[in-house]
Amino acid sequence: MGDEKKYGLVSAIIMGLGGAIGFEIFALLNYAYFDLAGPSMISALFFCGIINLITMLSYSELSAAIPEVGGEYTYTKVAFGGFISFMAGSIRWLASVFGGALAAVVFVNQLGVLFSVFSPTFQDLVLANASILIVGVVVILVILAIRGVEEATTFIVGAFLAIFLIFLAMSMSYTLNPQNVVPEASGEGLAVFFAATAYLFPMFVGMRALVAGAPQLKDPGKNVPRALMVTTILLTVVYFLVAYVAVGVVPADTPRTATDPPLLNMAAATIMGPIGAVLFALAGIFASISSVGTAMTVQSSLLGGMSRDGYLPKILVKAHKRFGTRYVAIIASSLCVLVFGTSGAVEFLGYAASFGSLLVFALVNLSLIKLRRTRPRMERPFKAPLYPLTPLIGIVMSVLLLGFPIILRDVNAESALLSSIGMVAIVSVMYYLRMVKREIDFNRLRTAVGGICFGAGLLLVLLSFVVMPPSVQIIAVAVGLISMVAGIFNIFASSHKID
């Protein structure tokens, strides 16, 4: 272990950029620009960078003080332990699943864009068979992930930066003058601005890869905070400039159809011609493939860690005999990626990935506050400045960003939030089922579940007479009655044992 190669600051920055620069820019700018904030999306990107920077200060302190594998899951485990760390690990896993599914959808979209340059017939064929292609790419990547194939992060980062630089350089011959870049100072103007910020947030969160890779770095106490700061600033500048050019070239009121390429591809085709269209489509394809692969590695690592700590079944930590990878965890995660990926719902997946990340950010900031209070003498090579202001701002911003898309009644955001809450409820029940060992606690849980089922059954029976058509009424009453009977059985059996 002592001979293991350690990396310096430049590698750390590449690691951060490699995690963050990816397929999201191809997927998320579109909805944020055409459907949410219009040109003020550029300011939303800048705001994303600031919020990210604030929470990265907390990440920097925690990663320097706890330089262990596991990132957020480890920090919350040290700070809170038990349920909170399980929740942080589960939400991070869910965000990664949604991110992986989004990457799979982007892969197919970019493949469609690539074919549209050469043959529109092929583009129609690709888009018509999107689900089959998503299944295909995920299956291939599962096989590669089980075999433990390494990613070419440095190559991808270099290629991306080069393509963006060419794009920016060629845009200089254009007169760019996007209007309304600053959001309107009205209630609705600010609401769409914050909603766009929440939606664009996944474009930045990938730089957490740097924190996860902290144990591989020389002097992580100094290099991780520095690299996080440099990466955030670089990323904000690059994204801001690219979005500025794209918005300047493609007006927000451009008539659009379902088969039209995303904003960035349209801007590339306008500025760089067919070569730009091909280059950006290829970049999107490689970035999305790489992201699905990375998501699978992160997911298997998280599931393996939680399984090792006893929160999940031991089978998830099982390694492949030949390749040494956690193949059960990889297959379990990729099935979830497949289910969500085949939906093809870019906006829903974007919000879902964002909400998961925002919740994890809030938990990381809470962990920092808890550790400062409970372990003031803990060795901290880096300290977040302006404590407690910075973690508090991080928490408040995360909660606000979660709320604004809901205030706007964006159906994609509502679906994403409710799905996330539903999944959090499921993992909470799983946690108690697995971790509650004492018989009396188990029976209390059983009474609670019985009560919920009885109540839900009664509600269903009553609702069936009020809102349901007669054809569905009989089924609803039968389902409601069975739920009530089962609830009563559970309540009586368990309350008898508690007594």
């Binding site: 799905s419 809450i421 409820a425 579940v449 089922c453 269903l460 739920s483 009977v485 089962a486 059985f489």
Partner: protein
């Protein structure tokens, strides 16, 4: 007592199946695999809450059903 547990196990099994069907229905409804939203004339604003309700109902039904099945097996 044995009869009571046996009835409980049957109710639990039925409930777990209903839970599975409810969750599956929620997924089919959300993904619009067979255009169920149009069949039930479901407005898009109500879709998230319907899917959420179905998933929660399904999960709790599965858990409650499994409790009763386990008790029946213990007997």
């Amino acid at each position: 007592m044995v009869n009571k547990r046996w009835i409980g196990a049957v109710a639990g099994f039925t409930q777990a199946i209903i839970g599975l069907l409810s969750t599956f229905f929620a997924v089919v409804l959300f993904l619009e695999v067979i255009d169920l939203q149009a069949v039930f004339s479901l407005p898009s604003e109500l879709l998230p809450i319907c899917v959420f309700g179905l998933v929660l109902f399904g999960v709790f039904s599965i858990i409650s059903g499994l409790f009763l099945i386990r008790e029946g097996q213990e007997q």
